[in-house]
Amino acid sequence: MEMTRSSDFAIRTRRLRKVFSGKVAVRNLTLDVPRGEVFGFLGPNGAGKSTSVKMMLGLVFPTSGEAAILGRPVGDVKTRSRVGFLPEHFRFYDWLTPVELLKLHGRLYGMSPARLRERIPILLELVGLMPHSNKRLRDFSKGMLQRIGLAQALLNEPDLIFLDEPTSGLDPVGRRLVRDIIKAQRDRGATVLLNSHLLGEVEVTCNRVAFIKDGEVVETRQLNDEIDDQTMVSIRAAHVTAEVARGLSRWSLSVCANGERLTLSVSSGAVVPEIVHYLVANGAEIYEVTPRRRSLEERFLEIVGKDGGL
């Protein structure tokens, strides 16, 4: 029996699969996103990220498997009033102004005119579009459209927000803004699912990430984890014989020796003193030992391969 209830999770999918005319887009997606987390969804192009998000939102119907958001099965119309969504290619009626767009979306959310009057200026201010509030969207740049899309996704103060590549059209200032907004949403208690190619950004914003490849979750990783199972140790040492270097394999699965430079992947930072002791005992002279966490990018490349999965 499972210890957790589905309502503890903002998103829960079980063996989700989507086949588009014979082509498998999502193979087998099983995912749990706890409430209140910022969850990064990573993977190469064509890994099935956007299709997965669309299935969670009820835009695309799964071929098999099931999914629930906020404790309710996907497709439940009422639940959608607690969900915000910024689509990857944000397109909207370009004959509207930002205020009209937000009003329309607010009405579709079932928000009262009074609440909209209160929310719209706050959001326009937040995304920096107040000076452009009377322009038509057709005169907007990609970055401006993304900003208004973001405002639209936050309109109803949602409990769960899907952001599909929210920074792809933004300059560094805009990216910083998105980062701050995500943080503010997390502080408010909302759950954010962030689909992004920008690993650095995911690294600083997310609590947890899932790597997806060929429509399957290949690894889920907690980013602020104290038990660090992803440590790399870089050692500069002289007089390390090949035999001594081979002996390092008892702590590390991958040992890479390049001149005086040894690079090891270890299961925990706790083994570093043992390694140093071993090397010294075997006659090595150590000049430098630098443990560091493997970056998300390194892990990403390891998982998807250098070809980016293409």
Binding site: V77, R91, Y93, L96, L104, H105, L108
Partner: protein
């Protein structure tokens, strides 16, 4: 509630994109042209001292001719204005931010359909009433059963609108346009084959026309409308070029209502079940 929001957006889009105003401007230009023709015709009647019966018949034919042109305009307006609304928004992804709102998909589709229905109803009413007002003022005649004719012409437009919506839930914008216009073209040709069949009393040719009307009843609705609106004399003598030789029955009109309902139901079901 979602239905009315989407209907309102659809109407606002038509106005904002100038579609509505251009349609009205083109309609206005048509009425001016029609009025000018009618004016010279009426002047000619007075100068030649034509018999009142003939004058009346010619005026009646002018009304039917004007309405025939309005019908053609309405058909094109229906298809051209509505082909892109669903397939275009699905292709561009515009629908995604809308379809994830707490509104069932059937309401989104029905709202759009109602918006277009409202716009087209207004357009057809203005044009039909405009033609009749001109002929009344200038020649003292109006279509015989105006309300019935107007209702049938309106229905023709709504049938085409529903078919456009149904196709748009399956195909791209261009394919939708080609299919709907093609189907109407088939009905149009079938209508003429039926007329000629009736003239030459070739029942099999008449049957070809009936089958075409079953495939797409739009043209049959116009021919029924023409029958309702033409003068009794024109109907009896079968002299009008606007087709009353073989009159579509009321059963065909009921069939068209059923056809419309089925097309709209298919559109709703398909839109509710397809990936966006």
């Amino acid at each position: 509630m979602g239905v009315w929001i989407m209907a309102g957006v659809t109407l606002r889009e038509a106005a904002r994109k100038k579609m509505l105003w251009m349609a009205l401007a083109a309609g206005g230009a048509f009425l001016v042209l029609f009025g000018t023709g009618l004016h010279f015709q009426a002047k000619d009647f007075a100068e030649h001292g034509m018999s009142p019966v003939l004058r009346r018949e010619i005026s009646f034919t002018m009304v039917t001719m004007g309405l025939y042109a309005v019908d053609l305009l309405a058909v094109l307006m229906t298809i051209l204005t509505s082909i892109d609304t669903l397939s275009g928004e699905i292709a561009s992804g515009t629908i995604q931010a809308i379809a994830t709102k707490p509104i069932p998909r059937w309401q989104l589709l029905l709202g759009k359909w109602l918006g277009f229905s409202g716009m087209l109803s207004g357009y057809i009413a203005i044009m039909v009433v405009g033609v009749n007002a001109l002929t009344y003022v200038m020649a003292g005649v109006t279509a015989r059963h105006l309300a019935r004719g107007l209702s049938l012409m309106w229905m023709e437009s709504i049938v085409l609108l529903s078919v456009t919506f149904a196709f748009a839930t399956y195909f791209s914008t261009l394919t939708t346009g080609v299919l709907t216009l093609g189907l109407h073209g088939l009905a149009f040709l079938g209508g003429w084959i039926e007329q000629f069949g009736a003239m030459t009393q070739t029942s099999r040719a008449v049957n070809v026309g009936v089958i075409a009307s079953i495939l797409m009843p739009s043209e049959a609705l116009w021919r029924r409308a023409a029958f309702e609106m033409q003068s009794p004399l024109a109907n009896a003598m079968r002299i009008s070029p606007f087709s009353t030789l073989s009159i579509p029955s009321m059963a065909m009109v009921f069939y068209a209502v059923l056809y419309l309902a089925i097309a709209l139901t298919i559109a709703i079901l398909r839109f509710s079940q397809r990936d966006l």
